[in-house]
């Protein structure tokens, strides 16, 4: 048991050292969380106050996604975040392609793998569940 804890602590320290002087540890930890089979592409740092209107996800960005590529979208929350980060992706015709929030069950998925078959510009939308105040990071990776 003691050995396992020491090993874990060593691995964690190694991970931190590997990321050297990165300013935001939330991003680097989230990159690690994306998994060993994921290769980092982009990150989105999201900090939002409480929403007055919850009709749409508030943080919006565009990103080109390419056919025959498997992407992983990983969501990580800061310790002090009241809400949990959620993601939805829409295509150019504003059609929703995916959401990390299952509205029927209320379940929030920590990551989504997306097998892209249509190259194009996509709208990446983030918010915190129920429009709560929150701080988090969304990491986009490719799966090997």
């Amino acid at each position: 048991m003691k050995k396992s804890i020491i090993s874990l602590a060593f691995l964690f320290a190694l991970g931190l050292l590997s990321f050297g002087q990165v300013t935001d540890p939330l991003i680097s930890n989230c990159v690690i969380n994306a998994g060993a089979n994921a290769r980092y592409l982009k990150d989105f740092r999201i900090q939002l106050g409480k929403a007055t209107n919850q009709s749409e996800l508030r943080y919006k960005a565009n990103m080109s996604l390419w056919k025959n590529t498997k992407y992983r979208f990983t969501m990580c929350n800061a310790d002090n975040s009241k809400g949990q980060l959620i993601l939805s992706i829409k295509d150019e015709s504003n059609k929703q392609i995916l959401s990390s929030l299952d509205k029927k069950t209320g379940k929030i998925y920590p990551y989504i793998d997306f097998e892209c078959q249509k190259s194009g510009l996509y709208q990446i939308n983030y918010d915190f569940n129920n429009g709560q105040q929150g701080s988090g990071v969304g990491v986009v990776s490719m799966i090997k």
């Binding site: 002087q21 990159v31 592409l41 080109s64 920590p110 793998d113 078959q117």
Partner: protein, 303 residues
């Protein structure tokens, strides 16, 4: 009566035509005008410009595709003629910073750490010259380059450094240098893809080259405000327009479908069933390969 049947037939015919046109594949087309008006580009907000710069695909994606296709690494694709000490203008420096960044991504993906240290020292010199060296974590990148087990960390720090430079330049009224850097990354990635496709004409790679039509307009939008700034910019804008012209008749169509989702290991997997289809003749591909090579070779010789 005959008249009524005739009208009814016309209505039914129109009805079918509309339904058919809905199920037909949609097509990606360039906006109407041949070039992006400067006034339109100038109206872009800093957020919109930041968005466009994030849109442009990473060279790592191209390198990843080459690895998936088991294309062997080739040193010949690299911009080795770039001498960091011979870049006289900020235009040259920013453009080369982008080109070298794409080469660094390619080298890192293939774990060619020896060569990546050479590219890295050029990047260091150029980035210090344009006063953005502080955003490049050279020591960490160097250390990680020597240790092959840290590829993911290496990719992260390299891409993150470029993102920081891009953000800094845009927020300090040096957006023209940021645009050049992004164009440089794209041209080198495009050069890499087209050169490989010339040698290994794989359908997936050729399609990816054709799909670049989707982001070409954004690249033009990014550079348009600076096209009349000086002769160097004017020439680069013309180059980008020439590339766009080669893409004009390449078709990208879309087929419809609903995404399929599967829950697995606590996460969600979404498989898209809509598809994009590229229609590009051999002549069109050759035209893109040729113009990309001509422009890129001229840019890297411009020391």
């Amino acid at each position: 009566m005959t008249e009524r049947i005739f009208i009814l037939l016309i209505i039914v015919f129109i009805g079918f035509s509309c339904r058919n046109s809905k199920s037909k594949a949609a097509e990606f087309v360039f906006p109407q005008s041949d070039s992006v008006p400067v006034s339109e580009a100038e109206k872009l907000s800093p957020e919109a410009i930041a968005d466009i710069s994030k849109n442009i695909s990473s060279p790592v994606e191209i390198a990843n595709l080459l690895q998936t296709l088991q294309v062997p690494f080739s040193q010949n694709y690299l911009a080795e003629s770039i001498d960091a000490n011979k870049q006289s203008t900020n235009f040259d420096k920013a453009l080369k910073l982008g080109i070298l960044g794409a080469d660094l991504g390619y080298l890192n993906m293939y774990e060619k750490t020896g060569s990546s240290l050479d590219v890295l020292s050029s990047i260091r010199k150029i980035s210090e010259d344009i006063k953005v060296g502080q955003f490049f974590d050279f020591e960490s990148i160097k250390r990680l380059s020597k240790n092959r087990s840290n590829l993911d960390s290496l990719l992260f720090i390299s891409i993150d450094s470029y993102n920081k430079i891009d953000t800094y330049l845009r927020s300090n009224d040096r957006g023209q240098l940021s645009a050049l850097m992004i164009i440089g990354v794209w041209i080198e990635g495009q050069f890499l893809a087209t050169q490989v496709a010339n040698k290994f004409p794989d359908k997936m790679l050729i399609d990816r080259i054709g799909e670049q039509k989707i982001i070409l307009n954004d690249l033009l939008l990014l550079i348009s405000p600076y096209c009349n700034r000086d002769p160097e910019f004017t020439s680069l804008c013309k180059d980008m327009q020439d590339i766009k012209e080669k893409y004009r008749d390449i078709r990208i169509t879309y087929t419809q479908g609903e995404p399929v989702s599967v829950e697995k290991d606590g996460g969600l997997t979404i498989k898209q069933t809509e598809t994009s289809v590229v229609t590009m003749s051999k002549e069109q591909l050759n035209g893109v390969i040729e113009i990309t090579k001509n422009i890129r070779d001229r840019l890297i010789l411009n020391n």
